[in-house]
């Protein structure tokens, strides 16, 4: 099932593997508000209104529960379905128990949950109480049945606008994978995440896949398709404000002032080893200066003071708090939400450093048509970067395969690899601290930066891989990491990928000749070259593969016959390891009920921030836990102000903000300009024909574009209304070979409370013909 994902257009190489699965009799379901090139190749197309993914997925969960299509043995042994939850836990009219209104720090209010009731019942020994009959009304299973029962397909149809018959066909087809012999796979991308309830939608997928027994199995799983080839790698290396390398949280200055405070928050499960990973990271950062006596230089590590997400940082820039910005392969002037505001805010900066392969809109905001450069004092530095084929290093794909690539050609002119740039930049900053001093020079002066004259990717890779500092040897597994300062590692999950500098595992390119497609000798998959995580779940508690025709692990009575690196203790008898198949969670099982989310232990449907409909599932209109950064930005469908649903997306032919593609004549030829897609019925209402120009407006701005009038876009019959939709292609801007308006000028700066990702995929707009 592809949901919120357009594999054919945005991940074309992945489509090859879907086609192969189809050749073998697999069925492809495409869930999307519009008929895409993926839909054209699917067996079942399921149109749903933008912003209703959670309602749709909850509908499938309910369908599986109600019709007993769940994989029962899996459910009992490998999930927390049988765990008993505190009787205090409750849900009423859109709010879970513990709801409390709090100051959001920017003059408004939001809901912050007191999660004490989102907890398990413990017995006298501190163990979680279970009921394997699943009959206890406080069992996760019964609570789920109750919560999801509201999402019957008829109600889901009314909210999503998807015809009931199509929903039924989809639910029947996908929930059939609850059959232990079958595996179902859910692939998703930004059409799931870019909503104010995006993280809960991902959780809904995880719950669905857990109850159908599809996690940890060949052909199963929850598979995020990344927006670019190395998003997985950049996430692993923590190109996000809330984590540090290896998915460890960024310390907060209030809650984690000392290393002991940070370690006191160490979770259970395999994460109990986190202090080893964290201290080894500090050793990689500050080398010999990091000692047990000074908490491994924990004080040098920057701490969060408040939310520093993209939307937040942008707002602080506008308020004058931020003085300079380094935009590394990033172009928020086109790609950010409410992008026009970002360009305005850029004026408040003293300087911008833009590192890119072409001069992008962020670097040229002062040259935007209509802007007077004389009024702008911001100094812009443009550092020309090498393209990915012009430098070596690794990329990590969404299957977590870390693959080394060699430079194919030299970069042109003054363009330099990112590593060259960051190496020079760091050394220049350090020199400045050495000569001029500063408020707090030690974190820079004592930084372990021993790459010599020219840093090489191989050297950095070894630092990331990690070392035993006593012997000086590279480590082969994160199991060797220690918390006493005797080891270092730049990213614990990558340990082993570069353990042998002569033949690093990430450079291996040996195709599998027989097997199930795991290709264990092709590159290196983190962690420890494991291809399928949670893979204990591929076999029943006795060790028999659920599908004997597609075994990953099989217990032969003495040992495991395996085609993967076990994600469990393989030295234990199968019945024992079956008790903890999800080694990263404290419970050891998949969490159908979880207290990890900001907005609820179960996914609940809320409308997008801007919606033409009232929430039909509760009295709470939009996600109450999200921060409203710009209350004045919210448009309304009332009085026909902004009555039309807008959603934004990409094309095969162009990429992100267009720097790599809008400067490529052949691609410009194939897709020469920005356009918007509308249904024939909306075209009739607006009075435009195919190819004519319209102005698309939201409460935040407007732009002009030609229309593509197509039956691939259809109105939705939802909530008793006929709702039209405008599909917005957004790759363009005013820099480069092919120029066009910035469509993100009209998207909202409102995001998910867990991830802060902006709601690019569902908001309100209006359109009128250009006369």
């Amino acid at each position: 099932m592809n949901i919120g994902l357009n594999t054919a257009e945005n991940h074309p190489v992945s489509m090859k593997w879907i086609q192969k699965a189809k050749d073998k009799g697999g069925k492809l379901i495409c869930v999307d508000p519009r008929f895409t090139r993926t839909a054209a190749l699917s067996d079942l197309y399921v149109p749903i209104r933008p912003g209703t993914n959670v309602a749709f997925l909850n509908g499938l969960i309910n369908y599986a529960l109600k019709n007993d299509l769940v994989h029962e043995e899996y459910l009992i042994h490998y999930t927390n379905a049988s765990f008993l939850v505190s009787p205090e836990f409750d849900f009423e009219d859109g709010y879970f128990s513990g709801a409390a209104t709090e100051d959001d720090g920017i003059g408004g209010e939001k809901n912050v949950y007191d999660k004490s009731s989102w907890s398990y019942q413990l017995n006298g020994d501190g163990e979680i109480v279970r009921d394997e009959t699943l009959a206890d009304p406080n069992s996760v299973y019964q609570l789920m049945k109750k919560h999801f029962s509201r999402y019957d397909l008829k109600s889901v149809s009314e909210t999503t606008g998807c015809p009931l018959k199509t929903l039924e066909e989809c639910a029947e087809l996908f929930c059939d994978t609850g059959d232990p012999k079958k595996a179902g796979n859910v692939m998703y991308a930004m059409g799931i995440t870019q909503f104010s309830h995006g993280a809960e939608a991902v959780r809904a997928i995880a719950i669905l896949q857990s109850i159908l027994g599809n996690m940890g199995r060949p052909g199963g799983g929850v598979n995020a398709q990344r927006g670019q080839s190395n998003v997985q790698g950049s996430t692993d290396m923590a190109m996000l404000y809330h984590i540090i390398p290896g998915y460890m949280p960024v310390p907060h200055e209030k809650s984690h002032p000392t290393l002991a405070d940070y370690h006191a928050t160490t979770p259970g499960g395999y994460w109990e080893n986190r202090p080893k990973f964290f201290n080894s990271l500090l050793k990689a950062f500050w080398g010999e200066y990091a000692t047990p006596d000074n908490d491994f230089c924990y004080d040098y590590l920057p701490k969060l003071d408040k939310e520093r997400s993209h939307i937040a940082s942008s707002k602080y820039t506008g308020e004058g708090e931020i003085k300079g910005m380094i935009c590394w392969a990033d172009n928020p002037a086109v790609g950010g939400p409410t992008a026009g505001r970002k360009r305005d805010y850029s004026r408040k900066l003293d300087w911008i450093i833009s590192v890119d392969i072409f001069e992008n809109e962020t670097a040229t905001f002062w040259k935007e048509p209509g802007v007077n450069p004389e009024e702008i004092d911001t100094e812009v530095f443009l550092l020309p970067a090498a393209l990915h084929i012009e430098r070596d290093g690794t990329i990590s794909n969404s299957g977590r395969w870390i693959q080394w690539r060699y430079a194919a050609i030299e970069p042109p002119g003054d363009a330099k690899p990112d590593l060259w740039i960051v190496d020079r930049l760091f050394k220049a900053v350090r020199k400045e601290y050495e000569t001029s001093g500063g408020a707090f020079p030690d974190p820079i002066l004592k930084m372990n930066w021993d790459y010599g004259e020219n840093a090489s990717s191989a050297e950095v890779a070894q630092e990331i891989n990690g070392k035993d500092l006593t012997t000086g040897n590279l480590i082969t597994s994160f199991a060797q990491l220690q918390d006493d300062g005797s080891t270092s590692s730049g990213n614990w999950i990558y340990a082993g990928y570069y353990a042998d500098p002569d033949e690093p595992a990430c450079q291996k390119r040996i195709r599998e000749t027989e097997g199930i497609g795991n290709h264990p000798d092709w590159a290196y998959a983190w962690p420890v070259n494991r291809r399928i995580i949670y893979n204990r779940c591929s076999a029943d508690p006795q060790g028999n593969p659920w599908n004997p025709d597609l075994p990953l692990f099989a217990w032969n009575g003495i040992e495991w016959e395996s085609l993967d690196v076990p994600d469990f203790n393989a030295s234990l008898p199968p019945e024992e390891s079956a008790k903890r198949p999800f080694i990263m969670t404290a419970e050891g099982v998949s969490r159908l009920f979880s207290n990890a989310m900001a907005d609820g232990p179960f996914p609940e449907h809320y409308e997008p921030w801007e919606s033409p409909l009232l929430n039909q599932f509760s009295g709470v209109q939009f996600n109450p836990c999200s921060t409203v950064w710009y209350p004045e930005d919210r448009g309304s469908a009332e009085e026909n102000q902004f009555p039309i649903i807008a959603t934004s997306y990409r094309l095969s032919e162009h990429y992100q903000t267009g720097m790599m593609t809008r400067n490529m004549p052949w691609l410009v030829e194939a897709m020469p300009s920005l356009f918007v897609e509308i249904s024939p019925s909306l075209a009739q209402k607006v009075g435009v024909t195919n190819g004519e120009k319209v102005i698309v407006s939201s409460h935040r701005g407007e732009f002009e574009a030609p229309v593509c009038v197509t039956p691939r876009i259809k109105s939705f019959n939802a909530g008793g209304k006929t709702l039209e939709m405008v599909g917005i292609i957004w790759h363009w801007g005013f820099a480069g070979l092919s120029k066009g308006p910035v469509a993100n000028d009209i998207t909202p700066s409102f995001g998910d409370p867990n991830t802060t990702i902006p709601e690019y995929k569902a908001f309100l707009c209006n359109i009128r013909k250009v006369v």
């Binding site: 054919a8 257009e9 074309p12 190489v13 489509m15 090859k16 086609q19 008929f35 090139r37 993926t38 839909a39 054209a40 190749l41 197309y45 095969s652 032919e653 004549p665 052949w666 691609l667 410009v668 030829e669 194939a670 897709m671 020469p672 300009s673 356009f675 024909t689 195919n690 190819g691 030609p706 229309v707 593509c708 009038v709 197509t710 039956p711 691939r712 070979l737 092919s738 120029k739």
Partner: protein, 268 residues
């Protein structure tokens, strides 16, 4: 016919990697295009575009269909262009492709005018016909044509014609048994069999292909009656073409001048 290309349109996702790869390998510059309401661009084959992907939408009782076709020289066995060429410049290569010998070509444009698929474009700048060469330069050196090498889904297959037909027949049967009753293999018998074959899920018209392509009658007549005398015709035409050539040259010079003052060929 030795080698062929088979495009399984049921596996094509319209990504146009083939269209771009064709331009890259054959060093064809981008044309200036504009969005006129379809994903399809450039709008037609031309001296700058030897192959292109077509997009057609169709409303059916089972919802919308979106068909991705592929327009280019079909490399016909019974090739009208070859038949009408007065100087024998068009020929079948040893790999099965239809190619043009530009040393012989006199630029009369008869090939383009008689092509039943309308996929030969006459380049007014060089007075030469242009079309897909089946990547003769690649194929004769053991490589796949650029389009087949670039296709991410394996929708473009290249190989021995007999093998491709075997595979295609099975695929067509599979499609017919799985909801696409109209599925056919196009190019099996059309104009004596074509080097480009397509597995289609719907009627050929949904893919911009003629239902029953034929070598035009006048082309056959021309071939039968006049070919033995063609050298005289050529001499007669020579005079006419001299005028034509001079006119083209004027146009070319004007275009060149225009380009010098307007270096960007691309629309902003």
């Amino acid at each position: 016919m030795a080698q062929s290309i088979l495009i399984d349109t049921s596996k094509c996702m319209g990504c146009r990697a083939c269209q771009v790869a064709c331009k890259q390998w054959n060093q064809l510059p981008a044309d200036s295009t504009e969005f006129t309401g379809s994903y399809e661009n450039p709008p037609r084959v031309s001296p700058l575009t030897w192959m292109r992907v077509t997009f057609q939408e169709k409303e059916t009782d089972n919802g919308v269909k979106w068909y991705f076709g592929n327009q280019r020289c079909m490399h016909c066995t019974d090739a009208a262009c070859e038949i009408v060429c007065p100087v024998g410049a068009i020929y079948h290569t040893d790999t099965g492709a239809v190619d043009i010998d530009f040393n012989k070509c006199i630029g009369c444009n008869y090939c383009a005018a008689n092509c039943p698929f309308k996929v030969i474009s006459f380049d007014r700048k060089t007075d030469l016909p242009t079309k897909c060469t089946f990547c003769y330069d690649r194929v004769s050196n053991g490589y796949k044509p650029a389009c087949a090498a670039a296709c991410p889904t394996g929708a473009i297959d290249f190989g021995e014609r007999r093998d491709l037909i075997n595979r295609a027949s099975q695929r067509v049967m599979h499609l017919q048994n799985h909801g696409s009753q109209q599925a056919t293999l196009y190019g099996l018998d059309e104009v004596g069999g074509t080097g480009m074959m397509y597995i289609l899920e719907d009627t050929p018209s949904q893919y911009n292909l003629p239902l029953a392509p034929e070598v035009p009658l006048q082309a056959r007549l021309w071939s039968m009656l006049f070919k033995p005398l063609r050298i005289f015709v050529v001499l007669a035409m020579g005079l006419g073409l001299w005028t034509n050539y001079n006119k083209s040259r004027e146009l070319k010079d004007a275009a060149k001048k225009n380009k010098e003052t307007n270096p960007s060929d691309y629309k902003g």
